[in-house]
């Protein structure tokens, strides 16, 4: 288990007590609605005071720390705002790290998420990962199907995976994605090796990298039956980086080619704009229920009115992540979801609605602009 401490030198303007209180809160086993609320409102007041851009958004919506009484009332900031505004309580140049979105959806404008310290992100990631992915194990041999942090210093996923390997990877853990792409030859050697030795292996990476892996293995006519305890973590979807296939087929193929039960194929749902991730408990049946730790709460809302929808109704996901202590706690995603018992179902992206008539729609327009 990672032992994360508040670094000794923090940028000015960063309320050290706030971070300490937050880390202590995250270290709790669980929390009540009231406790969550208390921390959320404290962070809201802090962000309202120290981030002018956010303050203006709040003022446009008529929300101030005086009127916001619950975490549910905190104005949700669209993820697009991370592209247009500087959402940080401390000067961006004083931040330890900035994570950027891949910029695949809207030209070259990339969303920026400023982290004055990675202490909170790392604590959030490791506690949650240990519980949801490691399932009690201390370490496991890992194969990472994603570039490392040196290649992608602004990728939150690269950092996430580096952290996973550093904190939880057993000897022999390694990256299998370099500048030349997926090193499938070396990876299949490892797969064959662990199949023999019986050492469990965890493969972690972008969903599309697993498609590349499966395509390669198929071409070689290879398949494996990985030892008990082996597991998979995929994240992020296909993003136009591989052929797209229905998720049902994706997990069926993954499971049969690697010999890992679908219940051991986990999907992580994370975003550059968050500091906390969601997991499911395997993908034996789809869509799987996603949930996060006690320091993040989600709502499903009507995108136009912002009103929360009843469980079972399709809407847009809003997350309130206390790990986002420096940016904004509450973000409005472009993801469609449904609230269910124990979490939510993730049903894909809402962006890119096609016109129903013959009027040119934004999506067509962007496509034409890209072409």
């Amino acid at each position: 288990m990672a032992n994360v401490k508040v670094p000794e030198s923090l940028p000015q303007g960063l309320a050290t007590e706030l971070v300490e209180a937050l880390l202590a809160f995250m270290a709790q086993q669980d929390s009540t609605e009231d406790e969550f609320n208390l921390h959320a409102l404290r962070l809201f007041a802090h962000q309202f005071q120290h981030n002018t851009a956010f303050q203006r958004i709040c003022q446009l919506r008529g929300k101030t720390p005086r009127t916001v009484r619950s975490w549910r009332d905190i104005p949700a900031v669209t993820i697009n705002a991370f592209k247009e505004l500087s959402l940080s309580c401390v000067p961006p140049e004083d931040c330890e790290r900035v994570f950027m979105t891949s910029g695949t959806t809207r030209g070259d404008v990339r969303g920026r998420h400023y982290h004055p310290t990675l202490a909170v992100y790392d604590a959030s990631m490791t506690r949650n990962f240990s519980q949801r992915f490691m399932q009690g194990a201390d370490r496991i041999r890992m194969g990472i199907l994603f570039p490392d942090e040196v290649v992608m210093p602004n990728s939150s996923l690269a950092h996430y995976l580096a952290l996973a390997m550093r904190e939880f990877g057993a000897t022999g853990s390694d990256y299998f994605l370099g500048p030349q792409g997926l090193d499938s030859a070396r990876l299949s050697e490892v797969l064959a090796q662990v199949q023999q030795t019986g050492e469990p292996l965890a493969l972690l990476g972008a969903t599309y990298s697993f498609v590349h892996l499966m395509d390669e293995l198929q071409q070689r006519g290879q398949s494996f039956k990985l030892p008990k305890g082996s597991r998979v973590l995929d994240t992020g979807g296909f993003k136009g980086q591989s052929r797209e296939l229905p998720m049902e087929d994706f997990y069926a193929q993954l499971s049969s080619m690697l010999g890992i039960a679908r219940s051991q194929c986990l999907n992580m749902y994370g975003m550059t704009e968050l500091s906390t991730q969601f997991y499911d408990a395997g993908n034996a049946t789809l869509p799987s229920v996603k949930s996060g730790p006690h320091w993040i709460r989600s709502r499903v809302v009507d995108p136009l009115s912002g009103k929360e929808l009843a469980p079972g109704e399709r809407g847009i996901l809003v997350h309130c992540d206390l790990g986002n202590f420096n940016s904004v706690t509450t973000i409005l995603t472009e993801d469609v979801g449904v609230a269910v018992e124990g979490g939510f179902l993730l049903l894909g992206r809402a962006a890119g609605a096609q016109a129903k008539g013959c009027s040119l729609a934004v999506e067509d327009f962007l496509q034409a602009a890209r072409a």
């Binding site: 247009e84 505004l85 995108p303 912002g306 809402a350 609605a353 008539g357 013959c358 009027s359 729609a361």
Partner: protein
């Protein structure tokens, strides 16, 4: 809360039990509608195409254009009659299918149908053919010799979208040039063309086999290839992606007419911006925005408003917002599916963020309102809004300044709603036409093109026909072979 059922398609010679059926579900304002759509096998499509081709040769191609116009006129008269069961069915079902406000559909439908009455159709034909008799028999032509216009043996229509009645344009065009017609309706609005075809067969049973209305789920390669292989001409509507896909399946020897999605906008000159006229212009502009919730290719997505009038562009944006709010009471926006609602919400947020960085920018309309007006104090390149009654108003120093802003969208431009004095109208028309615009209308008439308009700047009927010429030399030579030749 009721459930209605309807059947789409019109398939002469095929019995319901010979077909596979699927159900498309619609719901609006608490009512639901189940539409059964027929799924023909590729072989059935080919057989149907053959039947239509043969029948149209016998029935449609032996009629004169005037006779065809008379038949269509009788069909339209039935559809305009409030007591007619077909009209009543259309009025009941179209709002359910499209989600549009019933009263808006009723009024729009009437206005639209009126453009297909006999005098309007005659104008429509005369627009493309100086001598309409050329569609019936060989006629002398200017350069010498004779010519006759033949319509396709088989014209296939691929319709898209949910703007009610849109398929009637191309279907009636096909009839006027005496083509056998097979039209594929869209999943978003499968009923209107089906109703029209059935009614036509009832009004003129002789034409019953000259047209058919089918359905398949868009993009079905096997069915598209099978039917396109039978066609002389394929007219397709849709986004560029789906058009490209369709084009790939049309044989090279078959004519292909694509009608892509378009981008339209309005321009308000300072002459229209005195205290009295600004209000009425804003009202008309709001009407163009509300009509079919901007789903039409002719629907405005931006209004460029000229500075220097009594009413400033920003005030005009306020007037427009006010009129949109009023129209929302009269013709409420349809209930948006989640994806479209998210699109509007996303657009609103982007506009909201712009107010931080752009001086004078504002967003008018509450988050929950069924309309939004974004105002920008400086002209920006033309770009789509989120439709569904979201509109961008931009100030320009002079209407001339609009021209460079639309240059990048040349391939997508269609209608400009223009409010300006005559001299400006003609000066701007020149520049707009050069930029790629194909239609300039009054504001308030953007969504109701005149009978006989040249859709996307093309010839509705001329583009469909093949001219067969008897050259003067043939006529001269024939003289020498006449039995009465000395």
């Amino acid at each position: 809360m009721s459930t209605f059922k309807a059947v789409a398609g019109y398939l002469p010679g095929l019995k319901a039990e010979e077909l596979q059926w699927q159900t498309l579900n619609f719901s609006s304002r608490g009512d639901t509608l189940e539409v059964a759509v027929p799924v023909l096998s590729p072989a059935q499509l080919v057989a149907l195409a053959e039947r239509v081709r043969v029948a149209s040769r016998r029935a449609l191609k032996t009629m004169s254009v005037s006779q065809i116009i008379a038949v269509v006129d009788r069909v339209i008269a039935r559809l305009l009659d409030p007591g007619d069961p077909y009209r009543q069915e259309a009025e009941k079902l179209l709002p359910l299918v499209t989600g549009y406000d019933p009263e808006m559909v009723r009024l729009g439908f009437t206005g639209y149908l009126k453009t297909f009455r006999a005098p309007q159709l005659q104008r429509f034909v005369a627009e493309d053919f100086a001598n309409p008799k050329i569609l019936d028999e060989f006629q002398p032509i200017q350069k010498g010799g004779m010519a006759r216009a033949f319509g396709p043996e088989l014209m296939v229509h691929i319709w898209a979208g949910n703007v009610p009645g849109l398929p009637l344009w191309s279907l009636i065009s096909g009839l006027l040039v005496k083509a056998g017609n097979v039209g594929k309706v869209s999943s978003a609005e499968p009923l209107m063309a089906s109703l029209f075809a059935r009614l036509l067969a009832e009004v003129e049973p002789q034409l019953a086999d000259s047209l058919a209305v089918v359905w398949w789920k868009g993009g079905d390669a096997a069915r598209e290839q099978a039917l396109f292989g039978q066609a002389d001409l394929v007219a397709a509507y849709g986004g560029n992606d789906s058009l490209a896909q369709v084009r790939g399946r049309v044989p090279i020897t078959t004519r292909f007419l694509p009608y892509g999605h378009k981008l339209s906008f309005g321009m308000v000159g300072r002459a229209a911006l005195d205290a009295r006229r600004a209000v009425s212009t804003a009202r008309l502009a709001a009407y163009d925005v509300c009509r079919y919730d901007q789903q039409g290719c002719y629907s405005p997505q931006v209004f460029y408003v000229e500075r220097g009038g009594k009413v400033a562009p920003q005030e005009f944006a306020q007037y427009l917002a006010h009129e949109l709010a009023a129209l929302e009471h009269k013709y409420p926006r349809r209930i948006l599916p989640l994806e479209e609602a998210a699109g509007v919400a996303g657009w609103r947020q982007t506009q909201e963020l712009k107010t931080f960085s752009q001086t004078g920018a504002s967003l008018i309309g509450e988050a929950g309102a069924a309309w939004s007006v974004a105002y920008a104090d400086a002209a920006q390149p033309l770009a789509p809004c989120a439709l569904n009654r979201s509109i961008q108003v931009m100030a320009v120093d002079s209407l001339e300044d609009v021209v460079p802003q639309i240059a990048g969208q040349r391939a997508f431009l269609q209608t400009v709603g223009l409010a300006a004095a005559p001299k400006e109208l003609f000066r701007l028309a020149e520049a707009l036409g050069q930029a790629g615009v194909t239609r300039i209308s009054a504001i308030g008439a953007m969504t109701a093109p005149e009978a006989g308009w040249h859709h996307d700047g093309r010839f509705n009927l001329l583009d469909l026909v093949r001219l067969v010429e008897i050259e003067q030399s043939a006529e001269n030579a024939a003289e020498s072979f006449a039995p009465y030749q000395d």
